[in-house]
Subunit: 545 residues, 2 copies
């Protein structure tokens, strides 16, 4: 091999900080506090505070490689942790505040967190598990909703005592920067250890025109929590470009978000479908109340964005949805649903339908799907198989080495998502492998049925899952939530689905529920549905016999 003669300049977050300090000092950061007031700041101030934080943590004994945990909403201080901790060579571990305290304790022990930074408003949650994590030597409290209790380390007081600049050490680009756990839908949460390199490359990809295209001229609102898959990397990529950043704090209800979007002239916002379903419903109710002309796109992912929602936003409110698929194990963005030049002449409905697929791989992510027996499948748009991924921001193993079976011998990561891939490379998730419905030996796509049900005007949400069946082993059962004040009968829903599906795909029955159980990150919790309703058809058939 002949080696190139170019500098060995490492891809680290230190450069992001340096670049922000040098060029983007006047860019704004806005965070909403628990009392709904706004904290306003600039990148220049941010960089000084990040330096102070690095000093304070050093003083508390944080060493390279140590884990510093956060238990925080989305706000500027959390962003300070995002940069100061990795740039000092330590590792930021974001704790998911929606998890059960037992899980939080498990994860904090598993990660061997040494310092934990927590919002004062979240202290009651912390108290429920901190005693089970003796490894945590210091708890630092961010006074978000009032003064820090006596005897606790005060984040602001610590920063106030330190100087404005810090000599961040040179780092290797493969050194660990951040530790994120999967949401634990399918067993114990597993840790994914991002490197500086993986975060930097993922950020570069998110700034490309054909992906999110984050720009200095943008105003980014990450609704997706910073404690979940690094808020899809958007705090990193936005900060990298010098974009204005707007953080919602704990206020994730639709009116609060819409007010913030209008007030701060948000151009890009990102979150899971539940959030946007709520926003769409509110916009439909009061179409004139919010002026959202500043918004150029809403990034939706983490669970399937129903076509009806994407269509509703576009046709009724002129808002463009960019649907993306990702995983904690992918740092996290893997695909993005954008029509390409070859689709320009296709009918608008077809282009919209493409926007509702999971899309095609972002640069540097490579995908394939394989059969149960490990055979690589063809991209014909109909053959279902488990999606596998590889690339510079795909995990090569879990922290702690659980789940070794998720990594193939030839270097791919098994996503656990069951998909089809069409000839143009568009991926459609039909199910998660733990949630597949196998009826009479054949797979039925719950996601396709859910999307169709959610297109019914009376349906707010619908989850289709596998219920045990005496003859077919499993049959699809639909859990349906109706919009307030609306009604629909089983017969109407059947009539609505019939034109679009083979008869044997149609749900065996419909259960109307007030809400659908969800995971900590907004995905349908089908294990819970199966637990509660898995025997529904057996009982019904016994009842009926």
């Amino acid at each position: 091999m002949l080696t190139g003669r170019m500098m060995d300049f490492p891809l680290t977050l230190t450069h992001f900080l340096e670049r922000a300090r040098t060029y983007f000092g006047s860019s704004e950061i806005v965070s909403r506090r628990p009392d709904k007031s706004l904290q306003r700041s600039t990148y220049a101030d941010f960089c000084r505070r990040a330096a102070r934080l690095a000093h304070a943590l050093t003083r508390l004994g944080v060493k390279p490689g140590d884990r510093v945990a956060s238990l925080c909403w989305n706000h500027q201080q959390h962003l300070e942790l995002y940069f100061a901790v990795p740039a000092m060579g330590a590792v930021l571990h974001t704790l998911n505040l929606r998890l059960h305290p037992n899980d939080l304790g498990y994860i904090a022990r598993h990660a061997e967190d040494r310092v934990l930074v927590v919002d004062r408003s979240l202290l009651p949650l912390l108290e429920k598990f901190i005693a089970t994590v003796p490894g945590v030597q210091h708890v630092i409290v961010i006074p978000d909703d009032g003064p820090v209790p006596e005897g606790r380390l005060d984040y602001e007081a610590l920063l106030a005592a330190e100087p404005d600049s810090f000599a961040f050490p040179p780092l290797e680009e493969r050194s660990a920067a951040m530790l994120c756990y999967t949401s634990g839908t399918t067993g114990h949460p597993k840790g994914v250890l991002y490197s500086h390199r993986s975060i930097v490359l993922h950020s570069l990809a998110e700034c490309m025109s054909d992906t999110v295209g984050v720009s200095e001229a943008d105003t980014m609102l990450p609704v997706v929590p910073m404690f979940h898959a690094a808020a899809w990397g958007l705090p990193f990529s936005s900060f990298f470009t010098g974009a204005k950043l707007v953080f919602p704090g704990p206020h994730l209800d639709p009116p609060s978000l819409l007010d913030l979007m209008v007030q701060e002239r948000v151009t890009l916002a990102a979150g899971v479908p539940t959030i946007w379903l709520g926003i769409l419903a509110l916009l439909d109710q009061e179409p004139k109340r919010w002026d959202l002309r500043s918004v150029r796109s809403m990034l939706i992912g983490g669970a399937a964005a129903p076509l009806a929602m994407i269509e509703g936003f576009l046709h009724r409110h002129g808002l463009v949805v960019t649907h993306a698929w990702g995983m904690t194990e992918l740092n996290p963005v893997g695909t993005l649903a954008r029509p390409r030049r070859q689709h320009e002449q296709r009918p608008q409905a077809e282009r919209l339908a493409l926007r509702a697929t999971q899309g095609y791989a972002v640069p540097f992510v490579e995908l394939r799907h394989v059969s149960d027996s490990g055979q690589v499948l063809s991209w014909d748009g109909t053959t279902m198989g488990e999606l596998e991924a590889r690339g510079p921001w795909v995990a090569s193993s879990y922290y702690g080495d659980e789940g070794a079976d998720r990594f193939t011998a030839d270097g791919w990561f098994k996503t656990g998502d069951v998909v089809t891939i069409d000839a143009e490379g568009y991926v459609r998730i039909t199910d998660r492998s733990k949630d597949v419905i196998k009826s009479g030996g054949e797979w039925i796509s719950s996601v396709a049925l859910e999307n169709a049900l959610m297109a019914h005007p009376a349906v707010l949400e619908a989850a289709v899952f596998a219920a045990r069946h005496p003859k077919w082993d499993e049959r699809p059962l639909a859990a349906v939530v109706l919009k307030p004040g609306q009604s629909a009968t089983k017969e109407q829903l059947v009539a609505h689905l019939e034109p679009h599906f083979a008869k044997w795909w149609l749900p065996e029955d419909y259960v109307f529920l007030p809400q659908i159980p969800r995971t900590s990150t907004g995905k349908f919790l089908k294990t819970k549905l199966r637990e509660d309703l898995g025997d529904y058809l057996l009982k019904a058939s016994r009842g009926g016999s």
Copy 2:
């Protein structure tokens, strides 16, 4: 150090090929042949041909690390070499067809080229130096303007004999991919050895919304030659995104370029200022002839883009210029002139003036400027010093190790450009270090004077350079080319400059020339001006005394 747990996926051009094959098969490539006809093709076809080329070169004995030279215009076959050669692990060395045959011979020997691919239309040039390069074992001829002469290897015949796919080997990302020589304005050309990593990262940066923002929806016309600094990396970044590519072949005259831009609906075009000066003059003459509404930006760099030109394009033709600074040693883009959010409210003239600076660093390039004594200078917008750069796509040494004095002990590359940097980070090149004018011990910026002169309506081009002076050691002398049919006197030019400069900055005299000598890459050749006219003032003073 704790190491991240992410895949060691190398950043190589192999992924670009794989991605293009997978997703962008229908994207177009259009090349103009010497006879002006258009060769039309697709990425799918391109990928097959790149595979065939790799087979053919392997068969000819090309091994990893071997240099394969090209002596070609911009066209699809050249692009095939851009990808097939590095992806097989060999190194593409692009020869600059504008150089003197002696220089070409020197460079080809220095690079130890083993195979050379040449356009049939350039065979006469090849014959002038190939005998001096005994190391070249095979010459392959691309039949661009007619059949390949008897006894020569025919590029198309070689490809026709090979299969459509090639197992490109796994490569380390730091392995060499491309060898580009500086244009040799200041001594023997020096080789810069790009790695896969440097090209890939540079491509990612070029796709960012805030830089070039190349997108799949774009149609890119690289006018800048592929034999000069990899055509600014645009063939790589454009191909990476799946953009339509349009190559001008040898037809670089303004009407041919404008016709091509209209015909192929070009959205982005890139070239040196001379090219665009010619285009602007023609558009001014015939403002209605070409419909350029498809064009979203023209990237101009390689030499200073005069403000008057940027302004003329915008105000008279609605065309946006993106001014960039780069060097062969930087793979090559270093800065880009874009106003930022903080300038939104500034007067339009000020924003335009920012667009005429060299701009601020692109992501992952870090800059500083230093005094003669090596002191790092402050960013005050007035202090001049030599610009230094570092980053993952900055050279760490030259191929062959000449010019070791260009690399500082603390890891920076000395650009040889003399600049100011203002508090917002905008760089203004005042001169090249070999071209600086030192009058009575003080520096005068030739570039500032040239820009001002070129804003005069009768002036097509102006170069200001150092002429020897009996009293002041050096004084600025202006070489001026007038527009056809226009006139201007020395007195008029003095009156035009006076309001903008200190008296002692004004050129000592004005010499009217039919054209200004240029380097092979379109820069003013001030060494030649000094050679021809360096004693002009001495003679004048003697004559006048």
